[in-house]
Subunit: 333 residues, 4 copies
Amino acid sequence: MRFFSDNAAAVHPRVLAALGEANTLDTAYDGDRWSKALDGQLGALFETAVRVLWVPTGTAANCLALGALCPPWGGVICHRDAHIQNDEAGAPEFYTHGAKLMPGEGAGAKLTPDAIAAVADAVVNDIHRVQPHAVSITNATEYGLVYRPDEVAAIGELCRARGLGLHMDGARFANAVAFTGASPAELTWRAGVDALSFGFVKNGGMSAEALVFFRPELAAETLRRRKRAGLLLSKGRYLAAQILAMVKDDLWLGCGRAANARAATLAQAGASRLIHSVEANEVFLHATTEEAAALRAQGFDFYDWAPGEIRLVTAWDSDEEAVARLARAIGAL
Amino acid sequence: MRFFSDNAAAVHPRVLAALGEANTLDTAYDGDRWSKALDGQLGALFETAVRVLWVPTGTAANCLALGALCPPWGGVICHRDAHIQNDEAGAPEFYTHGAKLMPGEGAGAKLTPDAIAAVADAVVNDIHRVQPHAVSITNATEYGLVYRPDEVAAIGELCRARGLGLHMDGARFANAVAFTGASPAELTWRAGVDALSFGFVKNGGMSAEALVFFRPELAAETLRRRKRAGLLLSKGRYLAAQILAMVKDDLWLGCGRAANARAATLAQAGASRLIHSVEANEVFLHATTEEAAALRAQGFDFYDWAPGEIRLVTAWDSDEEAVARLARAIGAL
Amino acid sequence: MRFFSDNAAAVHPRVLAALGEANTLDTAYDGDRWSKALDGQLGALFETAVRVLWVPTGTAANCLALGALCPPWGGVICHRDAHIQNDEAGAPEFYTHGAKLMPGEGAGAKLTPDAIAAVADAVVNDIHRVQPHAVSITNATEYGLVYRPDEVAAIGELCRARGLGLHMDGARFANAVAFTGASPAELTWRAGVDALSFGFVKNGGMSAEALVFFRPELAAETLRRRKRAGLLLSKGRYLAAQILAMVKDDLWLGCGRAANARAATLAQAGASRLIHSVEANEVFLHATTEEAAALRAQGFDFYDWAPGEIRLVTAWDSDEEAVARLARAIGAL
Amino acid sequence: MRFFSDNAAAVHPRVLAALGEANTLDTAYDGDRWSKALDGQLGALFETAVRVLWVPTGTAANCLALGALCPPWGGVICHRDAHIQNDEAGAPEFYTHGAKLMPGEGAGAKLTPDAIAAVADAVVNDIHRVQPHAVSITNATEYGLVYRPDEVAAIGELCRARGLGLHMDGARFANAVAFTGASPAELTWRAGVDALSFGFVKNGGMSAEALVFFRPELAAETLRRRKRAGLLLSKGRYLAAQILAMVKDDLWLGCGRAANARAATLAQAGASRLIHSVEANEVFLHATTEEAAALRAQGFDFYDWAPGEIRLVTAWDSDEEAVARLARAIGAL
């Protein structure tokens, strides 16, 4: 019974079926009809004109976005616990040719306008310092917290005022939308987001994420960068088909809701142990070494986050019976 | 009836089935049992210890290999018509942090030891010139010619003598093995190849190529580079499963043979028009604009290579009836 | 008696004196009064508004210019014998983050619009090919030939028509101006040049070259790149002072004329042996191994360019008596 | 009366004289006899075999050293107030092709083994995190504190134990040696330092710093990197001559002592206002806006470091009378 991470979950049957349906000859790269449908389908979802590039990983989506928003000699303000800072092995620096990540503070890996301003204001505006060019936030955050539309909008306003681009790492965007009830548009471009890494792999996809540009002019260069990074798969239709399957009938949102609901069940069971509010599909609990061992002895698999802390992650396919058993086990600790 | 390129062919049913079989929860990235089986399975195929990394594109495989064999201040000797020189949008320069491709000459995109030595000898060995560090050859070449084991070995010997690494771009390695009848070992490490981009996507795969290191010590850094390039898919098992399916019962070789046989049929029909020998799955023919139009009018799709030249490419799934009709149409020109 | 290269000549006494005059406390970096005078002084020389950055080497000037004119995923068309292609050890690739040099052909290292168009036209305009973004020409060329104003203008016109930036490597710009009698303006911005590496080190300077932007908007980013490359000397006044001393009373032009005149003397003596016209300060002669040895036996030092070819380079400070002796020796071969 | 920074001080007359003495024709780049003397002269000073490269800036020295000690996918632990982190505009990232600086804590910009271990220990050793490869310390620090030999040795021991390279930014190395009375060897390689940026520009030089490798095998690649960065001046003898003049008769040490002594005078006068111990040539004082204005009204120029804090920097050539007047003015506040 695995609560280790959502990134190893199974692929949704409808996504798998879409691969089979795409298994006919078509044009290579992104000239096929699936790839060509992305702008329209995601434009409808986001209620605005967008340019969409499929990529095989969230890291690729994030780092292509950063490359579009920040020159090699610039900086990107992000949370010190951000995935781009800690879990991408220097990919942001690789893709931007050496831009500098500028870590900010905030509970639960969440940035605020004040936290961002604090980072930016500490940078003397002279030729000797790397100047910030963009902000990157993660929604839902690495600790399972969710930015509400007005929180994103406040950051977006600061970015516009200071001439900073705004990127959203949406590896768990579905969970954030599910939690807030906001529309995808409200959580992104209406709040000032320029580029979104729209994640599917943690949410039922296999190998396709969507990089969504709300400023379509950013796409042209990024198409070249994607190719130059070895990311332009010749059979792109199999990536596009995954995304289209996830978008169709809001499968992505249903999967996000399912994961959130299972996390809520665990959060309720461990209410007295919660380290962070549970707003998405991650549950961080205080648990002693013995307690963690006791849970493992019952067959539950999860991540030891820090001494005395464990992380439980649910996914679209977390078995409801397993969730219920884990909830009971937590309650019984 | 499409003879445009092998890179848009359908996915082999056994590969597609393998995706379904891999659709269970397992460890993320390359910790799963499919990924872990690659070294062993490909080691058996190549009759030596290898380290294998899955990647989603041939460009990624090539450029990670070049990065392992050449520092940023070095050069890579390749044919002037090589894919890495002309068709990867600067990915070699991106992955190597600015190494220089040093193009050499040779009929049919084939390099010889003499051609390589000519490039290397033209470089004064001083601090002002970029010095060559590696050689990259493509087998089968971009024009459908095949290096025999002794031809590779002659190049390998030159590389060893001069301290150059040797990479083989095997996007069509299956076609080369099928043509020569040589073993995979004879065409690679026994002939001095250090790293092979073993292609599957043009040959029945969907989104997985294998980067095979015959010098296993090159793998450690490359694992970090793969991650840093945004290429470490979290559900790597779906890539590994494709490769394992292709390797099982020599499916890859059967597909390569099938494509070659279809090309041979076309070559025979167009024998008087051949620009290059047909040794793999590509057929380059002299054809006037009117002749090309006449073929298109009969429903055949292909690439106008240059004025008066057309390229026909077969694949594992080229319809035999369509091939026969095209052969007749060529003969009737 | 050294005719090996102009790059090791002595520093002109007026330049050395300028260093002493600058040896008072002032503001660091480029905030001092010498540095601040550059835009005005060179603007007067070029009869237009310019932005000028001092740098310590011609390679730095060239590569900062290329970085300003070409993105990492672009290409720069240059002659296959260009300094940036052969003698800068990959600095163009380093500074541009991996842009591709695209070598063209032409006698005496000179490009023509046709030669440039031939390179550009060979690049299919698709996502798989690196696209040209700029052209770089060297005046005087690496073989001592000089582009006339109308020749530069023809290239400038082609660049404008195709949206390509135009850089001039003017390591020997003084020699080119001296030869043509054209004004600096006519040879550069009036002919479409966007950025000039204005060389002084080969012409009496010590350690300062001027990167001159005729499109002033290119300077802002380049100021950051210069710092980021470790090229912003804290005591920049000693570089600016060198440039100002060279510009004052057209010292640069006088030095260029002197070097050209000495080369003309040698060219006259070796008229029957000339490989290239002698238009600047370089003389390439046919000479057998025995003839070269005979010259060396008389105390002359020079470069063996290729089998049967020698290169003689004069400088502002070439001893006239030594030049006369060498001329006699050549005539006596 | 300027106490703004040591980086704009005048050039020592003996250095200027050395430029005149070097003003004869010699071989270009680093083939001249001055450049060739560096290894020997600095080897004698450091009492061990060294490889020495001249470069025009401290940033270049630092970043070439980091490039030699850390791959693009690695990290460099430094103090969060380090020059490489804050004042080099991303040059470390440029030269290393995107390595990550990992800032640590410590009073007065000084790192301890514990502080370094804290940074390193926070990095999970997996494929997703950038791993530290080197440590960089500044001696004297950016706040004018000095690492003693045993303090460096403790860091050196930690580095050896963990396989980390150790770089010392010695922009003010003379001040550190002058303060400690230790030998250059004791403060560097005997304490585990692999590479030293030996600064002269703040201490009487004009445009030459020495990058000193105590692991000579690091030099070969760095020679190529120096050229590739546009840092290989063709008239290198004028840089080498500066360094030789500074080393001769320990001019560098005398200049460092002179600067330290003047700072000590100021420190004594402002003893009750000191923010940091004054061990080198920088004096950080608490001073209100009004007090700072009062000093400026008397003709003293300095840097407002932070609200309520000012920085006074002395140099080898700080006028003693001006120092005395400033000391009195501080005492009278």
